[in-house]
Amino acid sequence: MAEAAIQAGCRFYAGYPITPQNEVPEYMSRRMPEAGGVFIQAEAELSAINMLFGAAAAGARCMTSSSSPGISLKQEGISYIAAAELPCVIANVQRGGPGLGNIRASQADYFQSVKGGGHGDYRLIVLAPSTLPELYKLTMNAFDYADYYKNPVLILSDGILGQMVEPIEIRPYEPILDLPEKDYILDGCKGREARVIKTLFLHPADMLMQRNMHLVKKYEKICTELQLAEEYETSDAQLVIAAYGITARIAKGAVGMARAQNMKVGLIRPITLWPFPKQNFKELAKRIDKFLVVEMSNGQFIEDVKLAIECERPVEFLGCGGGWYPSAENIFEKIQEVIGD
């Protein structure tokens, strides 16, 4: 993830140690200066996100990473960056919670990520890789999405992805979007009017409303343009598993087991959690019997699944927070239990 960022032109990283993502700041501390960029081990996650606020305002591609409790600390800064419409990339390598929790993987920061852990009506683009090659690719894409939409992008990873090892191909960076010029950066007002980056709008009284409406329009645009999902064996499926991230990868194994026994099971794997790939879900809901949501939490992602299909079909649940992992066998057992009817 760190290398992908550097390949994509990220030249400012500020972070703080927290398990299970310490490899990121450690790698960055060596690699970023090599690439001619800035690495800062900040005094806290809160300071790190505010350093990003400054670096983004100054025009740099910038990134921070942390894990669940540290992401909680960043929420204020994230709200400000989203309100100021600045680009940055934030990586959350999720661990068990709430509170100090443990250092096993989890997916319990779903609400925090897509419903907005910070205050106010803002949205983050949330990307959920399920393999390391995909993590690499999505990290590079994240910088493009951030610059293009002038919005923070969150990469929602987890402790398993964070600690596993698998081969990937180090591909060079290629922008996937036509990026606009950064005409908002603060670099000294030589040759132009002074610029102000602010998020306080007191006058006139409806100014903040206008700003909010502007953000709403932007978010609608992102929803139209950026819903990404992968469907696996869904064309004739009766039961479709809905899962994301590492859980989806495990679920694929369960789908294989089910298909081996002629059960018509498929998988839908959202890649963008926001914007939620509602289109895919709506289409599936027209023809399948039921969904089975598998997530490493007490039930967060499942709510968006139900919303997306407007409760048209039954949605079963397999999941638990606090560092529980499903195995492919666990999921297959659950498939057998719920598919019958």
Partner: protein, 246 residues
Amino acid sequence: MAMKLARPETLYDQATHYCPGCGHGIVHRLLGEVIDELDIREKVIGTAPVGCAVLLYDYFNCDIIECAHGRPPAVATGIKRVLPDRVVFTYQGDGDLAAIGTTETVHTANRGENITTIFINNAVYGMTGGQMAPTTITGQWTTTTPAGRGGNQEGPPLKVCELLSSLEGVAYLERVAVSSPKDVGQAKKAIRKAFETQIKGKGFSLVEILSMCPTDWKQSPKQAVDFVNNKLKQVFPLGVFRDWDE
């Protein structure tokens, strides 16, 4: 040869929202004068705090970013590291710098970030209506210390210059006031020295400025000036605490 005392170019021709007799207006002018004299307006990027000075971008004709409460030093770090040849300053009140932002202040100073901090110390939280600040002095009444500071385990006032003077990363540290023309003159010198410290790449500079807040001290402007001269200066002695030049 002429002496002309007038609005600095760096300041817009704009009435301010500050109260009558507030120190912010004086410091804004000094900052504008220094930026003019050093001819750095087009290279300057400033941060606005949360506090009465949140609107300073309405008064300064240069690039400004409005920060979350206490975070200007971190934001300034981000900007200066990305654009090291620009001049980056933070402008903060006592709550911003010494309460919620203490972590950012101490570590930015300790890292020796090459930025300049203008610290307005008026011993009270102005914008929110006069609550206790870290620098409220013992015995001082505020809306959250009705028995006077010290009556409810608030601890003594926090002395920022003294605290930061223990850090090796700090290049220039001076406490001044704006409660008399002589003090104003010294304050301007300090602000100029601080910016020169940054321009010469010497490290972190901070000027603490004892300032008047008549409204929240429940005093007239003249009484507020006396309060700075007779009370605040006793608790927060003026002087240079660190100087790379010595």
